[in-house]
Amino acid sequence: MKTLICLSLCCSLFSGCSFKNVKPWEKESLAKPIMQFGGIHGAVSKYESHVYFSKEAARGGAGVGGGGCGCN
């Protein structure tokens, strides 16, 4: 039920908003290294994910790549 509520919230978030049609020449700010969802250090993000995977029970949501390990 909670999952359905979350999915419904996401759907309504998208359906209720209008987005600006940003042209390619207007995307200079979006192309900055500090504007990447994964942060500016890919290796640090991987280290963090591994630590959280080994110390916490929740997982998923950060992409499908990466292998398992016996740390959890």
Partner: protein, 400 residues
């Protein structure tokens, strides 16, 4: 000049909003992770490289080596021995009780991954990856595939679908064998070369498989902000028990015993992850993340994370962040030695308990030249269970 402008537009159109920023690089990084109370310490050097083959193909490879030492808390007999290890130690004191205390271990983990990206005429992307990880008692092989499709000509919205399969082998060191593997060929290597006595349960090789699915939408909101929403599912089956964890059963009876923990052989998890990033002014970005997770072990979790980056100068970028995590306990978890009797599933592993966690972090990225940059980061992690950890990372990235 016109050519330069067109080139810039082309680069921006191709690079922004894509899941992958195409570039050629080599990075060398190092992690030093330390927990309080002389628990786990990890030193982990890693190297990564990516290379573009024309405009339509990229390849990448990563390697990491984890050297793990320290101890992790498990239920143990409080018997003290005279220094011999395991069964060879002479018991000098035994009250017959059990204590939850650190058990020493050390291990080395090597993990490799390789991947390739194919970009199509409309700049849709197909990514494939292969991962392999090996420890003394754990092997993991996985393959992943994800596809990103632009839904509009301006490349402001894309949808992603990803799937991966992980196939793990676990060497189980049963307490029924005094906590020792059976080294059949006496080569001091307890894995791969040995036979496993599955009939007696003395030691055996178990397997588990995990399928990870993710479906998401990435939407550019305006010139300075983007939103990403992903729904995910993680489906695991097989041996999901932690082979190093113990539980005490029937503590208040004459039949009290210390045995291996036991978890269900299936776990189905679902969740949603939201990410929003916005540029404030010209030089500060604010990255907000939220994840909701639930599974059929009755674990529910919320994760909130806020990261900020500040371009202090052309060469210097500063970062700071905070993360809050909370989870409920698994239905078969209990910390007490007096709780379990004959339950099928039982665990006292602290990672399945109810707890909250906070992470504080900061980083410095310094661009030494157009091709070379250096980074240093520090993180402090604290759980309500009492676990505290520090994480120091440092690395260099060379573009070419």
């Amino acid at each position: 000049m016109q050519l330069n402008r067109l080139s810039l537009i082309t680069i921006l159109a191709l690079s922004t909003h894509a899941s992958l920023h195409a570039e050629n690089y080599v990075t060398v990084d190092f992690l030093q992770y330390n927990e309080n109370d002389n628990r786990v310490a990890v030193s982990a050097p890693s190297v990564s490289a990516a290379y573009d083959i024309g405009t339509d193909f990229s390849v990448r490879a990563d390697f990491v080596n984890d050297a793990i030492t320290g101890a992790t808390p498990v239920w143990q007999s409080d018997a003290l021995t005279d220094g011999g290890s395991g069964a060879s130690g002479r018991v000098v004191n035994n009250t017959g009780d059990y204590v939850y205390k650190n058990q020493s271990f050390n291990d080395v983990r090597n993990a490799w991954s390789i991947g390739a990206t194919r970009r199509f005429e409309n700049r849709d992307e197909l990514n494939v990856g292969i991962n392999y990880s090996r420890e003394s008692d754990y092997d993991s092989k996985s393959i992943s595939l994800d596809y990103m499709h632009y839904t509009d000509a301006s490349h402001n919205r894309s949808i992603n679908f990803g799937i991966s399969g992980a196939f793990d082998e676990i060497l189980v060191k049963s307490i029924a064998n005094g906590g020792k593997y059976r080294d059949d060929d006496d080569d001091k290597s307890y894995y791969k070369d040995d036979d496993y006595d599955s009939e007696s349960g003395a030691s055996q090789k178990e397997t588990s498989n995990t399928i990870n699915l993710q479906l998401g939408v990435n939407q550019i909101l305006n010139e300075t902000s983007s939103l990403k929403v992903d729904a995910f599912a993680v489906l695991s089956a097989g041996y999901l028990t932690n082979p190093h964890q113990r539980v005490v059963r029937n503590y208040n009876s004459a039949f009290q015993s210390l045995g291996d923990e036991s978890r269900p052989d299936k776990r189905t998890a679902y969740g949603v992850a939201l990410k929003h990033i916005v540029l404030l002014g010209d030089s500060v970005s604010l990255n907000s993340n939220y994840r909701y997770y639930t599974d059929d072990w009755q674990i529910n979790s919320h994760t909130l994370e806020e990261n900020a980056y500040y371009e202090a100068s052309k060469n210097l970028t500063l970062g700071a962040g905070v993360r809050y995590y909370t989870q409920t306990a698994a239905s078969f978890y209990n910390a007490s030695k007096e709780h379990f009797t004959d339950e099928i599933y039982a665990s006292s592993d602290q990672r399945l308990s109810q707890f909250n966690a906070l992470t504080y972090k900061g980083s410095v990225d310094y661009k030494i030249s157009d091709n070379l940059s250096y980074n240093l980061g520090a993180e402090f992690y604290e759980q309500s269970t009492g676990l505290k950890a520090t994480m120091i990372t440092t690395g260099a990235k060379y573009h070419f």
